[in-house]
Amino acid sequence: MTKYLILSALLFSIGAYGVLSRRNLLLILMSVELMLNGVNIALVAFARHQQNLDGHVFVMMVMGVAAAEVGVGLALLIALFRSRRIVDAGELTTLKESP
């Protein structure tokens, strides 16, 4: 049980490092996916430990939300790249449409 929780904490922390240390928006979105996966492992481990299937259903909800998040996030990224030619979060200082 605890070994799975520690693996989940490790994946979550690596994902958090990716979110904090990268400026490429694609990599930031991928790191968010990694964090969600870390949480999923913990949920499934708890479901197995408690012999309760609620955790599995919760993981499926997380997958649905992750799919929606990636869809909208990548659409925003494409819209940003079309108007400003950047994928760099550090360059992203305005949300207004460029003239």
Binding site: Y4, L27, Q51
Partner: protein
């Protein structure tokens, strides 16, 4: 300290877990440090496959299958598709944070991991293996199902939970995904 030793012994006695965990963590570390997004996506794919192995170890065969289908099959292909669509040059990839800033982020995340791991170890009463699975009875509407231990976490078990107890959240997720599709179409259109 005792619980840490217990966990290490538990992990060392489980070669499938050990291999899966090493591949998942190693691929994740390589992924967050790649500059080329295509390589990062492929390393993330390897990490997701190792996570699916963890799901199988945790007696969640149906989740493992849909994890491979949704994450490696749909989400990562979407990433690769967008990378191809953007067709970034090296200059357009942008700059990265300075090494001191990255080191600071590493220290913060290392502390986060230590805090999480310490609280898990503190909460762990024992390194004992999971209890044996028992036969469970579930009811969906008027029909009743008996789930044998070897079917635990399988399609019939998860399906009966999903369409029994959790049918309203399930429907709400479908609405969320429709809204996300519409949002993605509107955002990615050339002219609004």
């Amino acid at each position: 300290m005792d619980s840490l030793r217990e966990v290490v012994r538990d992990a060392a006695g489980d070669p499938v877990f050990l291999a899966g965990a090493l591949v998942a963590a190693g691929a994740a570390v390589v992924m967050v440090t790649r500059r080329n997004p295509v390589y990062a996506a492929l390393w993330l794919m390897l990490c997701f496959l190792a996570v699916a192995v963890m799901f199988l170890k945790l007696h969640a065969p149906f989740l493992a299958a849909i994890h491979v289908l949704v994450y490696t099959g749909a989400i990562l292909v979407l990433f690769l598709f967008v990378i191809m669509l953007l067709n970034l040059t090296t200059k357009e990839l942008g700059e990265e944070h300075s090494p001191p800033a990255k080191a600071l982020a590493g220290v913060v995340c290392g502390l986060l991991f230590l805090f999480l791991a310490a609280s898990f170890l503190k909460g762990a009463s024992d390194g004992a293996p999971f209890r044996e699975l028992e036969t469970v009875k579930v009811s969906v509407g008027t029909s009743k199902l008996t789930i044998a231990p070897e079917d635990w976490g399988g399609v019939s078990h998860v399906g009966s939970e999903l369409f029994g107890t959790f049918v309203v959240p399930f429907e709400i997720v479908s609405v969320l995904i429709v809204v996300a599709i519409l949002g993605a179409v509107v955002l990615a259109k050339r002219k609004l």
